[in-house]
């Protein structure tokens, strides 16, 4: 990675926002980060820069859904956003209290160690501004419940790729529902083996066929979209 050098402070150029969106959507990492630095140096508010970043990520999501981008592009966009967040973070903290539309508790259920879909979802919802508590893979029902009670998330996401782990998925949903008064969060399930039938089998509240659909559900449930 090259060292970033930003322009001296100057006048705000509204075309910079459009240019930043294009650079992020095209995954031009170093140029995009340079542009963010230049925008901040020109007097842009971090929140306005972030808004362009999020619009760019939505464009990345569209390109992925249309088949123009592959998983590598989605992951690269997430990495770019992680670095952009680092640049913007200090300024955001200084100028306003950090706010998040909500917290999402996430993990792959016991008996399953797949994490690609879960990690993609985590990247994308973080880009949307959510705080993610990711418990990792092979997570038992009790650990989901214990964490949910402690952090009281807005949504709990259970990932499951293997049909052999479906009984664990069902048991986890049951335990979380039995104690819903203690955490108050609905449960969304997602993963390769998940469909409408598994939603009915598990009695979960929502299901998502992929990370992009998962974000839509988050935004709907947590009142962002």
């Amino acid at each position: 990675m090259t060292e970033l050098r930003f322009d001296e402070p100057g006048r705000i150029d509204t075309r910079q926002g459009e240019r930043l969106m294009e650079l992020i959507a095209d995954l031009r990492e170093e140029q995009a980060l340079l542009e963010i630095g230049n925008m901040l140096a020109s007097g842009w508010k971090s929140t306005d820069v972030m808004e362009y970043c999020l619009q760019a990520m939505r464009e990345v999501g569209k390109r992925f859904e249309s088949g123009r981008y592959f998983i590598s592009g989605l992951i690269m966009a997430g990495e770019l956003m992680r670095r952009a967040n680092e640049l913007l973070k200090a300024s955001l903290v200084q100028k306003q209290p950090e706010s998040t539309p909500g917290t999402i508790l996430l993990g792959t259920v016991s008996g399953d160690i797949h994490n690609l879909g879960k990690n993609l979802f985590a990247i994308l919802v973080r880009c949307e501004g959510y705080h993610v508590e990711d418990l990792g893979v092979d997570v038992g029902p009790e650990r989901f419940l214990e964490t949910a009670v402690n952090i009281r998330p807005g949504l709990i996401g259970l990932s499951c790729m293997l049909t052999s782990a479906l009984p664990e998925l069902k048991a986890t949903v049951e335990l979380l529902h039995d104690h819903s008064a203690e955490h108050g969060a609905p449960v969304m399930i997602g993963g390769n083996c998940i469909d409408q039938h598994i939603l009915a089998y598990s009695n979960a509240d929502y299901w998502a066929k992929d990370a992009i659909q998962g974000i839509r559900i988050c935004n709907r449930v947590l009142g962002k979209g």
Partner: protein, 305 residues
């Protein structure tokens, strides 16, 4: 297409298993895990892989092989040394295949999937330098396996997720074609076969595989691919597959078994099928399930296999 016998449907299988009774579907497994062997009363040694394969009526054994174990993930099966291939081949009962992680897989083993894919997008020159280092090590390992008597190589390189390739087919061409054309050339010059394994939906990559002249696909999933469609795409190729993960579960309902029987019935006439699971046999309960699945496959009748 040529008129060579090996290029006719089923020709490669006939060459791989010359003494096999006509009508039986050949069987083999890319991965047999330690717990699976234990359930059958065996420790995880090359000799015992041969014994268990014989007991189950398999026609080939596959030994995951590596010359360094430092970065290998713990997935329920062990890796063997190239010299173990000679031990297994010495039993003489089965075709012995070495299973070798491909260059992309090795990079993922070392750095993780996300870091590897980010590396590809971020700095291709650095990525390809690292890839080339891996490919040279793997070609050396493959040559050792051939020297030790491996009659086929299964190269495992996860290039796809359930949705499709993780990077574009054009990028996979740029990344992998150099390695695979060299590997195929080396293995074919030795008169052996190369099968490729990748998880996920690989139908979009089959034209590349065809161009690389690989002999077939191993442990590929029916769910995201549809094996019958894959076979149409690779009409002269070997399809070592047929058993998806849900069929191996003990409470498998009649649905998956019916789907399995129908799929096998469609795949058998081509003569290019080796019955194999898409995920490997790791768990103890797979022992009873695989016997049941083999019995279902044999009920199908002789066909052309």
């Amino acid at each position: 297409m040529t008129n060579k016998a090996e290029d006719q449907p089923g020709g490669k299988i006939k060459k791989m298993f010359p003494g096999r009774p006509r009508g039986r579907v050949p069987k083999g497994e890319v991965w047999m895990g330690t717990d699976f062997l234990a359930q059958a009363g065996f420790s995880d040694t090359p000799d015992n892989h041969s014994r268990l394969a014989h007991e189950l009526g398999m026609d080939m054994i596959c030994l995951p092989t590596a010359d360094a174990m430092d970065c290998k993930p713990a997935l329920g099966y062990r890796y063997f040394r190239p010299s173990d291939i000679r031990t297994a081949a010495g039993s003489g009962h089965h075709l012995v295949a070495a299973v070798v992680d491909g260059p992309l897989q090795e990079m993922v083993n070392r750095a993780g999937l996300m870091e590897t894919l980010i590396g590809w997008v971020r700095d291709r020159k650095a990525f390809m330098e690292a890839y080339t280092r891996e490919q040279e090590k793997i070609l050396t390992l493959a040559a050792q396996c051939l020297d030790m008597g491996a009659q086929a190589l299964v190269i495992t390189d996860d290039m796809a997720s359930e949705r499709g390739p993780m990077i574009s087919p054009g990028d996979i061409d740029t990344m992998c074609t150099g390695f695979y054309t060299r590997a195929v050339d080396m293995i074919h010059r030795a008169g052996r076969h190369l099968l490729l394994h990748s998880c996920g939906k690989i139908t979009g990559l089959v034209p590349l595989f065809d161009r690389w002249k690989i002999d077939g696909l191993a442990a590929v999933q029916h769910g995201p691919n549809n094996l019958v469609d894959l076979q149409h795409q690779l009409p002269d190729g070997i399809i070592m597959a047929g058993i998806d993960a849900d069929l191996l579960e003990p409470e498998s309902s009649p649905g998956p078994e019916e789907d399995f029987s129908n799929t096998i019935a469609l795949l058998r006439p081509s003569g290019g099928l080796i019955l194999c699971s898409a995920c490997g046999l790791y768990k103890g309960h797979h022992f009873d399930r695989i016997k049941r699945i083999y019995a279902l496959a044999e009920k199908q009748g002789p066909g052309s296999a």
